[in-house]
Symmetry: C2
């Protein structure tokens, strides 16, 4: 008899019919003899509706009270989900995040979990209940309601699975697993049976919108295996876990295209120690997240100078440009170029580090598809290139074909 934590997101509990379907699914797992903890999000649209109400009262709502307000969304779902199980004759009890023992810091609207004391969850499981926990929320040690920010319900599920030493955590969502590429771009894309935490992290940060990095990091830290699967089918999904020997044989796990990038190039930056630090300090102060950074070698002749390119999210381009321009006196670059028509194409795979030739296979595939490479960046388990936005889909298909078909 396993202990399983199942998480259902907003679209899986979008209305009372969907909540009843979730209850039926939970009841089937329960009938197999498993002990089950269910983590649910707010019904889709509910959180946005609450934020709209708050803004009617106060254009920039105080975050402490916004948390009190938003926490009602998941509380509504847990009560309805428990009723739906009762209607099927299954014993179930709902808990708010606070009642489930989820203790966070006091950074309202994006609190971090400090610890979990799942005494009540254990007690209710012991007495034969399915326990339904409100995702996305917790309380401070002094008892104030907090929420965990984006991806918060996944985080609740994974962290609770860790604290309960659950055998498995299942993330039910509106996709049926992790794919070798976005099937809308690459029709030949396949669903992966398994993937390592690190690969999942790279994919998460590369725009595969399945899960926030934060939850994957926690799963990795506490060794919680989890499965990403569809709440609309019975098919198994993708297992995310520590890499195993058999996983190492795979060279490339997936191909990912991120079209939400913009590129900045500082032309003619003095080639001196400390200049990179000087460039990125104003960006950090403006809370701009920099992704890829590439510095080319020095040009010959005169005072040594170099070009420095980096990418940011498209939404941050204006802020990044302003930050760099405000520091122009110190940075002494000749010119700043920006380009919003770029995309980042990445191949990810744990096996890569012990398999030479991955880079050249990728570059060959892009050359054959007539795609120009603007920037290159590599890590232990991924190679990313910045290319023209217009060639993004063609490039993704070519690289997927080269490695995975």
């Amino acid at each position: 008899m396993s202990l399983i934590v199942q998480k259902y997101g907003g679209t899986s509990v979008a209305n009372t019919d969907r909540i009843k379907s979730v209850a039926e699914r939970v009841a089937r797992w329960r009938a197999h003899g498993h002990r089950i903890v269910v983590v649910v999000s707010a019904m889709s649209g509910v959180t946005d509706g609450l934020i709209k109400l708050a803004r009617e009262v106060m254009p920039r709502p105080t975050e402490r009270e916004l948390d009190v307000l938003l926490a009602t969304g998941e509380q509504t779902t847990v009560a309805l989900a428990a009723m739906a199980l009762h209607a099927l004759g299954v014993e179930a009890v709902s808990l708010t995040g606070a009642q489930a023992g989820i203790v966070t810091d006091g950074v309202h609207t994006k609190a971090r979990i400090l610890n979990i004391t799942p005494r009540e969850v254990h007690a209710l499981l012991e007495s034969g209940n399915v326990v339904i926990v409100a995702g996305f929320q917790g309380q401070t040690p002094s008892g104030r309601i907090t929420t965990l920010g984006r991806g918060g319900s996944d985080l609740t599920a994974v962290a609770l699975a860790g604290a309960l030493r659950a055998d498995l955590c299942q993330i039910f969502t509106d996709v049926d697993g992790v794919y070798t590429a976005d099937p809308r771009i690459v029709p030949a894309a396949r669903k992966l049976e398994e993937i390592s935490y690190d690969e999942m992290l790279e994919l998460a940060s590369l725009g595969a919108k399945v899960m926030q990095s934060r939850s994957v990091e926690i799963a990795k830290k506490f060794g919680v295996p989890f499965e990403v699967r569809s709440s609309f089918s019975e098919e198994p999904g993708t297992m995310v876990k520590e890499e195993t020997e058999s996983m190492e044989e795979v060279v490339i796990r997936g191909v990912s295209l991120d079209r939400n990038q913009a590129k900045l190039t500082l032309v003619g930056v003095p080639d001196q120690p400390g200049i990179a630090a000087a460039v990125f300090k104003p960006l950090t102060e403006s809370a701009v997240n920099v992704d890829m950074i590439v510095q080319n070698v020095s040009h010959g002749g005169g005072e040594p100078a170099t070009d420095l390119s980096f990418t940011v999210e498209k939404a941050d381009l204006a802020k990044a440009t302003a930050a760099i321009e405000s520091a122009k006196d110190r940075l002494r670059y000749r010119e700043i170029l920006t380009d919003e028509s770029v995309a980042k194409l990445s191949v990810v795979g744990v096996g890569m580090r012990s398999h030479p030739g991955v880079a050249s296979t990728m570059f060959d595939a892009l050359a054959n598809a007539n795609v120009n490479i603007q920037m290159i960046s590599t890590s232990e388990i991924k190679i990313s290139v910045v290319i023209d936005l217009e060639s993004g889909e063609r490039a993704t298909q070519a690289v997927h074909a080269a490695f995975l078909e």
Copy 2:
């Protein structure tokens, strides 16, 4: 500097504009130097919407989970009300019933308050906050969310005022006070400046829909004076408090008409000890609340028999009739008569017990208005008569004129 507990009901917080008006009102009282605790209900319509959702999932929702669901209604309002005060630059913090220290028994959907430990409320008041507490809800000693049932937010306000030893409790509602009669029926009706707890209790139980008896009982028990007043004007309302000497001089405080009554008469019941108990046992078992009971003297001749009449709420008439019929063998009545076309007219006043002649004045007024009296029942501070429904308004006007104009 007084400590004031203010309660705002569902229509007073019906939407975000109304919530902003409430915040402005609270801010004005605060500016006078008072310390303020605000108790709010769910926005009108929200509770019904939640019940509808619950019924979609489960036709008869489990009460424990219904409480978890319904409690989100008031939690939403407290967060929005706190934000509305912040928008006015007033320090404010919201608390759920549980956070405010309201501990109840475990009778879900109609829990009773066991005790209140307002430590957090005191601490927040001390540090200069307006404290906004979710009405209608609490938690069991073991931490389960409960709700208090009908009139629950009034109860929260009055009980909290008692526990905090507040100087005053104000019930802001959609009427501007307690009247000598319903102004829609009696145009000459006047607003009362003050009324005693007992008189308010009689009026509450007589269909004056201002407040549930339960809250008035608690106010009386803990000696909490409270004011019923409008949230849509600045006029003072009606003070409800211990009777004072000056109050005793008043003979009649008000006239009340309850059109929600039905009458049952058991004809030819054997006139024996224990028969009344036998009649009312099946009613109690069916959870029918019996209001007036009148037993006439025995008819002469043959086996002594009597007629027994009583009134119930119209909605309970079918249930009451079925309960009596199912016990026919034991009760041995000859016939059962029911009448839905009745109304109960009452005059209420603390002074009544020491002023003879009130009954005859009332009966004279009714006779002059050509109203037939079907049943009479009296208590220390009220006289009630059951009359034909059709003559209800005429009778109310006549009695009001006799005593109060």
